[in-house]
Amino acid sequence: MPSLGAGMEAGILAEWLVQPGAKVKRGDLIAVVETQKGAIDVEVFETGTVTRFLVAPGTEVPVGTPLALIDTGAAAPTPAAPAQVAPAPATQRAQVSPAARRRAEELGVDTAKLAAKLGGEVGIADVERAASKAPAAGIRPGMREAIAAAMAQSKREIPHYYLSVQLDFSAALDRLRVLNAALPVPERIVYGVLLVRAVALTVKRFPDFNGYFRNGQFEPSPRANVGVAISLRQGGLVAPALHDVDSKDLTTLMREFMDLVSRVRSGHMRSSEVAEPTITVSSLGEQGVDAVYPIIYPPQVAIVGFGTVVERPWAKDGQVAARRVLTATLAADHRVSDGHRGALFLDHLRKLLVDPERL
């Protein structure tokens, strides 16, 4: 059972997505795990053949519990397996998974109808989607507590400092408009992608804002996996990662960003996305706030908040003009960096965002 975020102690193995005997490679989806953040698709760490499941669907197990045995071809020792675990059912997957059936009972969803409507397999996400069409499903049970626990831990343990900068975002927005005018609808880019990419390029220059504070020390990460805070319409939020943002162009990032949002909405986040952000971006630009003062997600050590792009009088070279202005805020961990470094970080970020050719 992988750890999928600060404070997660256990998870429910909801569903196997492969059968014993299946050949899997690192990164393949092999199971669905139910957590307070929702159903998460678990990616396998090894390449090999699935020989046996150690945990049956519907079982809650602590983080760190082996879920399955995978023969990697090497002379790997076989972990002693609990013998009482039931083997996975038959070769054919049931139309409605056991976990989905249980969830359907909780939510009062008719799985027979749903299966008929979908014309095939029914998973937890389908059940929840069907249920959410019923009157106000509300925030996922346990999610508010999970958010509270992570944020309380952050406020208790991380000595935050905050810095902010206002920047003229007009040139970047103009460049995007020109770019998008030449692109078909499916390839157009939203400015949020620029923000995420600018943060990734900045952490490559300032590694002391990128990584994890664990066991009393900072571990910088060689990757720039930018977590993006996505609010859920039912309430609550998640902040899964876009991976290796520094090495991807805007078109690729846009496609991955849209794919991520749609999977968050449908309950198909992947374990690496949940577990691996190295810094987070929180943009409340669509809610009309001037600035965001974000709280760091442990064990990360920094988070960047963006407010709304607003038209403001902006003085430059002795002239005042109307410009589209954006406020960027950095919250960072004093155990790792100081305000001076933070100021350099923000200034670098600002330079990228006012000069979009560099993105």
Binding site: K133, A181, P186
Partner: protein
């Protein structure tokens, strides 16, 4: 000029793929999706791509504000 009812049905079908929890019966056609369904920019992009595919027309970015509500979408595509 297309039949507004047919356009409405098509727009709602696209909307349902972006916001499955939406209830067409309580949707106010005059109010922005953002204000009544918490649409964010990524949701809108997904919606715009869906409309582009459903109606088979290019939609210039400058027209996006016309598509922020159900009534706006119907007017836009019925006229097209």
């Amino acid at each position: 000029m297309k039949d507004p009812d047919a356009v409405r049905t098509q727009v709602l079908a696209v909307l349902a793929t972006v916001a499955p929890e939406m209830d067409a019966a309580t949707l106010d056609p005059q109010v922005n999706f953002r204000d009544q369904m918490d649409f964010d920019s990524m949701d809108f992009m997904t919606f715009a791509i869906g409309l582009h595919k459903a109606f088979g027309v290019d939609i210039p970015e400058t027209d996006y504000p016309k598509l922020f509500s159900l009534a706006g979408c119907i007017a836009y595509f019925a006229a097209g």
